[in-house]
Each structure stands twice: as C-alpha cells, then as structure tokens.
C-alpha cells in the first residue's frame, strides 16, 4: 500500500505539521483591523501618558443603526448623542435648549418656525455648516427608504410628496439665507420637542453620498455634535474623538469609547477592574450596591413605563366595571416591594415622573379586593362565572427584561386570589400579537423618546392613534371627551395650559381603566468617582458627555 501512495506517511505528517505551523503563523497575523496595530490604549499611553481624558462606556445590546435617521432603539440614541445634534436639544431635565440654532421665532398660528443658526458653525471636517444643510437633512430623512424616524416629520408641509418620491424637497422647509431656516407645518404640534429627536438631526450630504455597502458613511460620519467618529471596530468598540469645530469649543474629554460587550457580568468585572468608567447594572446586582450605600451608584427614573392594556371592544373588557375590577384587584405596592424588590417607582398615571407635566395627584383605581368583586357584580356580567375566558398577551421581547415574566406571574396570581379569575398567558414571539392569540389584555412598556406629551398621551389615549385602531386588532379605546381635550392640547401654545389639558385627558383615561399603569422604570448606573459632570438622561442615555471631565486618578 505504501508503494501506491504518492506521499509517504512520514512526509504527510511532516507536511501536515508544516501546514499547521503556517496556519499558526498566519493566524498570528492580524485578523481584524483592530488587531493590525498596537491597541489604541497602548498607543495613547506612549503618546500622551497622562494628559488624555478618555471616558470608557460599555453597551450590552447591539446598535441597530448609527444613522440618526434610521434610529431603531434607544441604544442607538446613546451613540447618536455623542456625535450628532440638531437645531435644539433636550437637557437631562427635558427642557428644550438652543443647540445649532441660536434663537427662533414661532408664528401666531403656531404653524411656522424660523430658526437663526449660530454664526461660524462647522462640520467636524472643518467645512461650513449652513441653512442648506438643515434643508438637506430634513429632506433626506423624509425620502429615506427606512421608515426609522421619519414619521415624526409628517406634519411638515410637503412631507408626503417627498416620502412618496413625487418631490425632492419639502415645501415647508426653506433656507431663507445661510443662517436662517423656515419650517412650516400642516398642523400644530409641539414641534420644538420633536426637534430634539434624531429624526431632525444633521447629516452631511457629501458624507452620506460617499457611503457604500462595504464602506458605510455612518462608520466615518462627519457631524456637528461634540465628538466625531474616530474608529469603528465591528462588534468591539466605537471611538469618538473631540470635535475641534464644535460650536461650544472642543469638549474637555479627548475621547469617548463605547465598548460593545453583551455580557453585563463582564461589564461589571471590567468596571471593578477600572477598565470602564461607567456601567449599567443588571437589576440582580443592584441590591448589593444599594445596601452598601455605594456612592458610585446613580439611580434615575426613566420616561419608560410598564402597564397592562385592555382591548375595550372585546368582551369582557368592553365593560368599564370589569376593567376597573381588574385594576382594583392588583396590589402594586406589594408587587413592586416584593416581586420587583423595590427597584422601581409605582406608577399611577401615564406621564412619567421625570417628564415635564407629570401629575403626582392623578387618581387611579386603588387596590381594594372587595371593591373589585363588587365591581364585577355591578357589571353587565354579574359574576366572574359569566366572564368569557381571558387571554393575556406577553410579548416575547419582554423576557429580555428579567422583571417581566415575574411581574406577569404575580399579576396572574393576584387576579386569581382577589377576583377568582384564571388568566391564560399567551407568549408570542414579538410585540405584534397574532390573530390566533386574540388576547383581551396584555403587558407592554413604552419609552418616550422626546419631551412631547402629545407623543405619550395622544399615542395612548386618542381614538385615532394607531394603537387604538380596532380594525387592526388593537386596543380600540376611544372617549370623545378625551379626544377633545387632546385635540385642544395639541393646538394650545402656552406650555402650562397645554400640560394641564394633557393631565385632564390622562385622568379620564386612567378612570376608564383602559390600561393599568404599573411602574416607571429606573436605570441603575455605577460611575467612577473620577468621572465628573456625568449625567443620566430620562431616556436612559448619557446626553451630557460634552461636559464630562476625568479627574486624575
């Protein structure tokens, strides 16, 4: 047999060994761009050992899009806020403050906004930023193939023509001169609040048009925010460097480094090893730091709330007494104190605690098991035995949040104990419930992305909101009184009057028991003591990296 083989056994093994060594040698060569050179950290250490200020953060969930106009999740917003910005912005208290626009005027009918840009604005590549860039950015988003964020531009005159490809530019967005932009709306909305959303942020035409599938522009984006992208390493990190042309002047920080690291335990280990400066805690780790009164722990109530919804047109939820009974049977205080370990803030309304316009006095249906039973007997069903089987929809994504499954089981038990009703839980893969499930109620969480009460209260409570569309098997809620208040609020210019109208609509909505607010989510973050001026925004982002200073340590 040996004689028939072209290669001897010995030579084959020698060859295989040689090949193995060659593979080893090639494997030792850089495999990804990040490995081509010495690590950035090592380079920095050689160049400027002590002077550089670098803020290192870690993100567990992957981003969906670095393009602000295709923003998919709040994770994306964390990245966008580092390098992009718009005409105005929201501070951490959700106040609207000037950004690229120095000032603005609003017409008496609240339909036209004239923005005056700061003089001398530049892109991060040093080229001048003018009103034409604003016009391009808004038109680009309106025409964007991805539905991403563009629906928030829908009230600008001419939006639909651009969206449908019938026109290249919206009639309602005009560059009056290099420093002045005029924006006209079809209907009155809280437009300044919407402008704080990435849908309205600036992208550079030359930069965008230079992008290809293999070399996306977003990974080398030119921007007007405090930082600009310096390095993009797929699945590893994004490094932003201070923008020397930022209108406030370059930030104190030289770099912001976002590590992409999906394991939160590893993130915590990196934080404890001083490799990252800020870490978002998993809820299981919070008690350890809370009990120790750790000064590095920062807690912030988010504009993100959890609630159960009901389809008010489908029995038995078509009866307000039944809906109220379901709410009265839930002891939220105990639920949050025990099942959720006191980590969250009990919610009674739908306007979050950190949102301007929050009403601490909103009257919801209090926990009262006797009253709950009485409400059922007063209902058209008369007794729980007459109620049809109730299906409860749990969206598959809710399992990602460790709290949701525990919460749902506790709710199920409370309805069983306090009302004698057995709820069948139907878990579906995604947020969208299938026709087979046809649940009468379910759980959801909503995060408001910008400080517009219309986007919260109208979206939830107006009969014309897509959430209530009965033909699409949605919640089907509609109350003419609530609609009237919301319509009036939308067309009210005075901010405090506006807030009051939304609060009245909120109260009616809560009394109708179409939903049951459960809690406002809270973010738990550890921040190293040498990181100064670090703030967590109510949307769970870190909007003030521009002001952060790293003290010597």
């Amino acid at each position: 047999m040996r004689q028939t083989a072209r290669i001897s056994r010995r030579r084959f093994i020698q060859g295989a060994g040689g090949l193995g060594l060659a593979v080893l040698a090639s494997a030792c060569a850089p495999a990804v761009p990040a490995a081509e050179e010495e690590s950035p950290a090592a380079q920095e250490a050689q160049e400027e050992p002590a002077a550089r200020q670098v803020l290192t953060l870690a993100q567990a969930e992957p981003f969906k899009a670095l393009d602000p106009h295709t923003m998919g999740t709040v994770v994306d917003l964390r990245y966008h806020e580092v390098n992009f910005n718009g005409l105005v912005r929201a501070d951490v208290h959700y106040n609207i403050v000037a950004e690229l626009a120095e000032s603005w005027e609003v017409s008496d009918d609240l339909l036209n906004y004239t923005f005056h840009l700061r003089e001398g604005l530049k892109w991060s590549d040093g080229s001048p930023f003018t009103a034409e860039d604003v016009v391009y950015s808004l038109n680009r988003n309106a025409a964007h193939e991805d539905p991403g964020t563009k629906r928030w531009l829908a009230d600008i005159v001419g939006y639909e023509s651009v969206r449908d490809g019938e026109a290249e530019a919206m009639e309602g967005v005009v560059a009056v001169d290099d420093f002045t932009v005029s924006i006209t709306l079809d209907v009155v909305v809280d437009f300044l609040a919407r402008l704080t959303f990435p849908a309205f942020w600036m992208v550079q035409r030359a930069n965008v048009e230079s992008g290809t599938p293999d070399d996306p522009w977003t990974q080398r984006a030119v921007s007007t925010g405090p930082f600009a992208i310096k390095e993009f390493s797929e699945g590893q990190r994004i490094v932003y460097e201070s923008n020397p042309h930022f209108y406030e002047g370059p930030p104190e920080l030289d770099e912001v480094v976002w590590l992409q690291l999906e394991d939160k335990q590893t993130q915590l280990a990196l934080y404890e090893n001083d490799e990252i400066d800020v870490v978002e805690l998993d809820t299981v780790n919070v008690p350890r730091f809370r009990e120790a009164n750790d000064p590095e722990l920062v807690e912030v109530d988010l504009i993100w709330w959890w609630y159960t919804w009901k389809k008010v047109l489908i029995p038995p939820m078509d009866d307000i007494k039944v809906r109220q009974a379901f709410n009265a049977a839930i002891d939220r205080t105990t639920l949050i104190a025990t099942v959720l370990k006191g980590l969250y803030t009990e919610a009674h309304g739908i306007i979050p605690t950190t949102m301007p316009g929050h009403n601490p006095n909103v009257q919801d249906i209090p926990f009262d098991p006797d009253r709950a039973k009485q409400l059922i007997s007063e209902s058209s069903y008369g007794d729980v035995s007459n109620l049809p089987p109730v299906k409860f929809f749990q969206p598959g994504w809710s399992g990602i949040f460790g709290i949701a499954p525990r919460l749902i089981v506790a709710l199920q038990q409370m309805w069983q104990d306090n009302l004698g009703i057995e709820i069948e839980i139907k878990v579906e893969e995604f947020e969208y419930e299938s026709a087979e499930t046809r649940a009468q109620m379910g759980i959801n969480s909503t995060l408001a992305r910008f400080p517009d009460l219309d986007a919260i209260v109208w979206e939830m409570a107006h009969s014309q909101s897509p959430r209530n569309a009965p033909d699409l098997n949605r919640w089907g809620y509609g109350n003419p009184e609530v609609d009237a208040l919301l319509d009036q609020a939308r067309y009210t210019g005075n901010r405090s009057e506006k807030q009051e109208l939304y609060q009245q609509a909120e109260q009616l909505y809560i009394t109708d028991a179409a939903i049951m607010p459960i809690m406002f989510n809270r973010l738990f973050v550890l921040v190293k003591p040498w990181v100064k001026n670090f703030e967590v925004g109510p949307t769970s982002t870190y909007p003030n990296t521009r002001n952060v200073i790293i003290e010597p340590h």
Partner: protein, 311 residues
C-alpha cells in the same frame, strides 16, 4: 483517491441544498416577523410594514424567495442583515470567522499540548492516584458550563490574583487577552483528547512490539516516544479535525462573555434579533466548515493509517 474526493465534493451539493431548504423553511414559517423587527418602534405602522415588506421582497411566494436566495448564495451573496441595514452578511462572516478560527487554533494548541501529555501520564500511571486525579479533575472541569467557568476565571485570575490585566476584547493571537477564552474553550474537548490518548496508549502498551522494544533494552523515553505515543495518537489526529470544527462554531457563549467579535457571537446576536439572513448565512457556512473538516479528516486518515485505502 481523486475519485473519492470528487464523489465527496459532489455530495456537498445536495447536502447544502437540503440544509439551506430546511433552514429557510424554518425561518419562513417559524415565529417572529423580520419586517416588524426591522420597523422597531414603528411596528404598528401598517403602511410602513407593507411598504418595507415589499421592498425586502418578503411578500413574494415562498418558492420564489427561496430560489432567489439560493441563486444569490451560489454567487456568494448572502444578503443584508435585517437588523442592521448597513451590514452585508458576507462581510459580517468574513470579519468574524478569522477571529473564531484564531481562537480555535489557540484552544487547539492547549488541547494538544496539555491534553496529550496528561493522557500519557494517566496511562503510564494506570490505576494509580495520579490516573484517578487527572481523570477526576478533567471530568469536573469539562462538566462546568462556560457561563459559570468564565466568571470564576475572571474573578480569580483578573480581580483577585491580578495575573491578567484585562479580559475584554480581541487583539489577535499574540495577546494576553486570548489566554482566558482559549483556556475555557479548550476545557471541554480537552477531556476527550486526554481520554483518547490515555486509552490509545493503554492499548499500545500491551502490544508485542512494545514488549520487544523493552526487551531490546531501549530506554523508557524512546519506547514511549517512538513506539507507544506515535501509534497511540493516530486516532487522535483524525479526531482533532472535528474538534477544530466544533471550536470554530461552538464558541457561542464564550465570545459574548469576553467581547470577542467572532462567529459564535454573530450567531447569538442574530438569534436574539431574529436576523434571518445572518442565521441562514452562519448555518450554511457552519455546515460547510463541519463538512470540510470531515472531508479533511477522512482524507488524512488514509495517509496517517496505512491500513486505510479509498478506491
């Protein structure tokens, strides 16, 4: 041999088609809707849903979509990620595979240079406390899942003993960052390799030619190195091909824990995001790796073991 190779390669074609069809069918009829996922917070916007579904070509009949996909794959186009519209699947795999391959290689070296000597030591000390200890420790070590082992290593080696400065990220083969993940990844297969070596050595030790070699008065080192080990590890070498394939595609949890931008991490992310184009691509490429590894092993066997011949 050439004919054998051609036959094996031809079998790849229907195998690939079957794998692609099964995966595609599962993705198509399985739960979850990639269009809703792409829409994100706009999931309830029916108009946008219909438009995007049409744009992605997902409103066409199954057969049409499948054959279009198959045709594109043959041309090397695996499509674009559903979740990340700026990420071609081919590019994602091309970036991540070399990382996983490098990590697998590092683990392989550990498996060979630790597993084989341990197996040898255990066999040479058969039924002594050394044998029992080595077998027990490796059984224990390989029974602990990666997600438990990794934090233990991190806490002990990085935070308590300060033996390693950092644990996160990837800087290639010659970096201390590879040590821990390669070690943990090697733990499972190490047991198999150690056992195979131990078993092989025990069998060979009883062979006549070993007794003859000893009778000739050859030193123990020569007997073990030249006559025992060389013959004992033959089945091991063929086994290593499959171990490498497992290591490349099997580092799923590990890569996420250590922030390694590899193939396993890509699979996990795409699973979480119901990113079907990436799931399809990684399944096909993963299957190709395993089939190729099998082919290499089978081919190599003919050279390594002179008793085997393919006609």
């Amino acid at each position: 041999m050439t004919q054998y190779l051609i036959r094996r390669l031809l079998v790849f074609i229907p195998t690939f088609m079957a794998i692609t069809l099964i995966t595609y069918t599962l993705g198509f009829y399985g739960p979850g809707d990639p269009v809703r996922i792409r829409l994100g917070e706009n999931w309830h916007d029916e108009e946008a849903y219909i438009a995007l579904k049409h744009e992605l070509g997902l409103d066409r009949p199954f057969a049409e979509q499948f054959f279009d996909y198959l045709l594109a794959v043959v041309q090397g186009d695996f499509g674009i990620s559903i979740y990340r519209s700026d990420l071609p699947v081919g590019k994602a795999m091309a970036q991540t595979l070399p990382v996983s391959a490098t990590l697998a290689l590092a683990s392989c070296l550990i498996i060979i240079f630790v597993g084989v000597p341990l197996g040898l030591i255990a066999a040479l000390n058969h039924n002594t406390w050394i044998d029992y200890l080595l077998v027990s420790v490796t059984v224990l070590g390989s029974s602990i899942p990666v997600f438990v082992l990794a934090p233990i290593f991190m806490i002990v080696l990085v935070l308590k003993l300060n033996l390693i400065n950092t644990i996160y990220g990837w800087e290639g083969f010659f970096s201390q960052k590879i040590i821990m993940p390669a070690l943990i990844l090697a733990f499972g297969p190490l047991l198999g390799v150690m056992r195979l070596t131990r078993q092989g050595v025990l069998e060979v030790l009883n062979q006549d030619y070993v007794r003859t070699a000893r009778a000739k008065g050859l030193p123990r080192r020569t007997v073990v190195g030249r006559h025992v080990l060389r013959n004992a590890i033959t089945p091991l070498l063929t086994n290593m091909g499959l171990v490498v394939a497992f290591l490349i595609t099997g580092s799923i949890l590990l890569e996420g824990i250590f922030g390694i931008p590899g193939f396993g991490g890509l699979i996990v992310k795409s699973l979480r995001q119901r990113d079907y184009p990436i799931l399809m691509g990684t399944t096909i490429v993963g299957a190709a790796i395993i089939m190729l590894a099998n082919l290499i092993v089978d081919t190599a066997y003919a050279y390594i073991d002179p008793r085997v011949k393919y006609d």
